[in-house]
Subunit: 590 residues, 2 copies
């Protein structure tokens, strides 16, 4: 019996004790985080599948893993030799987990799910849905806990305080804003489970999740007090002193005794708070809505924007030095990982650099066509022939964050590659230059990035733009730019990515990504208009631009961008990178 099968057996024994006919493992943490710390990699523990998305269902006689197309191959490989079977999502009319439960479990069955691993809104929705088929959804204890020997502890990395000259607002300022919003909503307190929201509100940063400077915590804000639930042992004396000016620090687990600290009407985000808090929060008097901090955090203040600009200037210096050095490497000597390592080496020299903001994507040739490809020492492809490399990386700084994709051309490009690159670039430029009416939402802008490739029968399936945090998570809501009907207008200070792409399976991938910030532009007799400020400072790959697809104004837009980069960076890059910067930013001419 494999280890996995033993674990499933142990789980079934516990299910039997509790009277559950099935048990769902969602794989998320008690904060509904996108990235989870090892302690909450429950899906991997029970099934062996290590991917970032998927659902596990264990019944009395079945163990099933659902994955989407990103993980069809990896999922199948990782569960091989275990009692698990794979169901592929969005293909062959396969049922998803919930539909499968409805179709196969007899009426009267009880399905358990760890109450810390599912949001209040999802649980309620599912409970109601199952009830129609006479199935009972139960909010369960974590049944993996008793069987998980050597389970990683709740992380408690040391905390640092973000000074106001980086954050722009003190924690006290931020608490006032939250309380003003609470007052307007007619609520008495708010409970925040989203860990990047807590980090923003407290002006604290940790290191609990790789690349994301967050820390496991909850926050409760009442009209006169603020409580931070996180391990007290992670504070230095200095940071504790700063924090205690505004917050009462209590142990992380104490959050689960929330009822002791609250009275009156709650405001909370039912999509982010887990079922473990349902008894206290989910009552008819409460007001549900997006975390107040999520909206505040998205609109960067002037100081944060200054830090974001500085981050991009620094990142631009490292990138130019890297590209210049890349040019001098002997042909065929590099592989995918060596390329991203070379860039990382340059970034490590930067003042205030903290590390990558996410796992770098470096995909050469056909690997570039795999959107979620991440090179491993085994897969890392040698760059020993002509081809394109998609390089999607980012930096965390004390004073901001970057996220940039450039597609680099090794050797000679084909006409098809140049056409594809130029169509992606046209869309990327169109979004960045668009002036838009105040109140415009991302879904309205999305087509700007797609319009040219659509004319050529091509598209991409990921979003065009996501929000980006200030020395926080690289994916940050509530706004985005995509085909999804997200009812959030783009507002002054929001920072989003602009990253269209084209991916041709087995051939090549192309993505071009800058970060852009929303700013006021002009007020006319028709109303107020907004515009984007481009933050990223790295030239496009001129070898891949086919001028016949560009009109004069697009060429001017590129030349102006390159000129700005040259002027800003020429005195900052290494001496031996100056010639490269000159040539990479020299004007395009027909």
């Amino acid at each position: 019996m494999s280890t996995i099968d033993e674990r499933v057996s142990a789980l079934r024994a516990l299910m039997n004790e509790k009277g559950y006919d099935a048990y769902i493992v969602t794989g998320t943490d008690p904060h509904m985080s996108e990235y989870v710390a090892p302690r909450w990699r429950t899906r991997a523990f029970i099934s062996g599948f290590t991917g970032s998305a998927g659902t596990v269902l264990v019944t009395k006689d079945e163990a099933i893993l659902w994955v989407d197309s990103r993980y069809f191959i990896q999922g199948a490989a990782e569960i091989q030799g275990t009692c698990f079977r794979l169901i592929k999502l969005d293909i062959d009319n396969n049922p998803d987990t919930n539909t499968y439960i409805e179709q196969t479990l007899p009426a009267g069955s009880t399905i358990g799910v760890d109450r810390c691993s599912i949001s209040i809104s999802k649980f309620n929705e599912l409970k109601e849905r199952f009830a129609k088929r006479n199935l009972i959804l139960a909010d369960s204890d974590d049944l993996l806990e008793p069987i998980w020997e050597g389970r990683p502890a709740i992380p408690e990395s040391a905390l640092r305080s973000v000074p106001v000259h980086y954050a722009g607002l003190t924690a006290a300022d931020k608490l006032s804003k939250v309380r003003a919003a609470l007052k307007e909503k007619g609520a008495d307190y708010t409970f925040i489970a989203s860990i990047d929201d807590v980090a923003w509100l407290t002006n604290l940063r940790g290191n609990d999740i790789k690349c994301n400077p967050v820390f496991m915590s909850f926050c409760l804000v009442t009209m006169d007090k603020a409580y931070l639930f996180t391990s007290p042992s992670r504070f230095s004396e200095e940071v504790r002193k700063i924090c205690e000016e505004d917050f009462i620090i209590l142990p992380y687990e104490e959050a689960y005794s929330l009822s002791r600290y609250v009275s009156g009407k709650a405001y909370y985000d039912a999509d982010r708070v887990s079922m473990a808090f349902s008894a206290v929060l989910d009552n008819p008097d409460s007001i549900k809505g997006r975390d107040i901090t999520t909206d505040l955090k998205a609109k960067k203040n002037e100081i944060e924007l200054r830090g974001m600009r500085r981050s991009h200037l620094m990142d631009g210096v490292a990138y130019i030095n890297f590209l210049s050095r890349l040019n001098t490497e002997p042909d065929g000597s590099l592989d995918e990982i060596a390329v991203s390592d070379l860039l990382e080496k340059e970034r490590e020299k930067l003042e205030g650099y903290l590390g990558p903001s996410f796992n770098p994507i470096s995909g050469f040739a056909e690997h570039g066509a795999m959107c979620h490809y991440s090179a491993t020492p085994e897969s890392s492809k040698k760059i020993d022939h002509d081809g394109l490399l998609v390089l999607d990386t980012g930096s965390q700084f004390y004073y901001g964050m970057t996220d940039i994709t450039r597609t680099l051309c090794f050797g000679k490009p084909t006409a098809e590659q140049k056409k594809d690159y130029t169509l992606v670039l046209k869309g990327h430029l169109a979004l960045a230059r668009q002036i838009f009416y105040k109140g415009t939402k991302g879904v309205q802008l999305d087509i700007l990035a797609k319009q040219y490739m659509w004319q050529a029968g091509m598209t991409y399936y990921h979003g065009t733009g996501h929000g980006v945090g200030f020395n926080l998570n690289v994916h940050e809501g509530p706004m985005n730019v995509s085909s999804r009907l997200v009812d959030v207008p783009l507002e002054k200070g929001m920072v989003i990515s602009d990253e269209p792409g084209i991916y041709k399976e087995g051939r090549h991938g192309i993505r071009i990504e800058n970060l852009i910030a929303v700013d006021d532009y002009v007020k006319t007799e028709f109303g107020e208009f907004m515009a984007f400020e481009v933050l990223t400072m790295v030239p496009y790959e001129k070898k891949l631009i086919d001028l016949t697809y560009l009109d004069d104004s697009e060429i001017s837009q590129i030349n102006a961008y390159h000129q700005w980069i040259r002027e800003e960076l020429s005195s900052l890059v290494d001496e031996d990178a100056k010639a490269y910067l000159e040539s990479a930013t020299a004007p395009l001419v027909r």
Copy 2:
């Protein structure tokens, strides 16, 4: 005491009898129609206000009319000398009707509303909202009925049958499609209150509402029967025979005895069915959703599309003859009404022409800047100086419908007028030529029409595109193209308008409108793509095009469109209009 005040007094007496503290007059008909027959112009009857939108509230001591900005002036003028006062919407933080009720009526008050004048969804939403303030919303009898002497009768214009060679599908075909959808939804019957849906389903047309060939009716479709509730006296022997092949004809009022005819699970559109049917339909077993017929009707079949094309060809002939004649009228001899009459005269010569599809808009100079301007004999402006004329008109044919706006230039245009026209035209062309991924919604395409004027700090506040019926209503859902987040993909066969504009108050208005039909375009490795087919066949106003704002591909797009018009129409227009057609469609050259 004015007549209006007498009516308000009489209403108050009835309110008192019923125990109502307030009474709302919505001004809609029992079918939630956009345009209502004189019988249901209740808002005008009680307040004297004749505009197309507004709400009336009568309390024990107040009589209030709410109107939006279109009607600030007209509303104030029409209620002058009565007991009514005006509240302007969307200005000065004025409360709307419901907020006003919440703010001013004491707890425990009862507010009546004619149950035939409000949809089930609106009533339920409002009832719940009022309940929170201890206010009671009551579904009332129509209290205007007893006091309305000489109230117009329910219209019962004669019906005609649309033959299958125009409709493409027989009523039996359509009933099968409705039943297939009902089966899929797990419902046993559907009740349809939307009168254009009934007209589509029955392949019948009437003349109950000006410009809309609909007839007052309800329809009930069960799995084996179909009932049409409409005045039996409106059928000729021939039409009755055709109709009775598929429908049991019952009197209009008999619909209110719906419970006699139904059993099992209902499917119905709670936004379109009035509260009068709530007792039968609104129960937990029922399924609410958009009328099945609304989705079917929106996707025109091949025969309908052929008829739509023919309609536009015919309309193009009339328009060219009209424009050619307009050119020969002595300077200063025309006014706004004379222009639209001249066009109407040409349309009346067309085979199969039934009349206008809506009240023509003909607005010269500053009148063109008023989006909803409709010339009256008093307001009709003489065209005796240089200026632009916005001419928005449409035709009903036995075999289809048109809706077209052209902006005509009298005399010499200014540089500003040419710039504005060309920016509108660029947007209009960009939407028409866009190829788009299957599943794309209107809100995603909206910016294509706005992108260029936004760059210049200009915009418009109306939608970019609305659905258009087949010899039915000129505004038809469920899809549209606008900034609203409407979750309806554009599908093959849908016909929509493409009508951006710029309106400068007191100066000039510009709008350019074609109808375009959605079609499949190409299937690639990336998926399926759709494209638009342009239906409208009238040249743009070349005098107003400033070539410096157009790129070469836009000029080619215009030239190809004009060439197509010339080739299609040259043998069909009047002899004396041929030279005009030639010159109006001659290629643009830089």
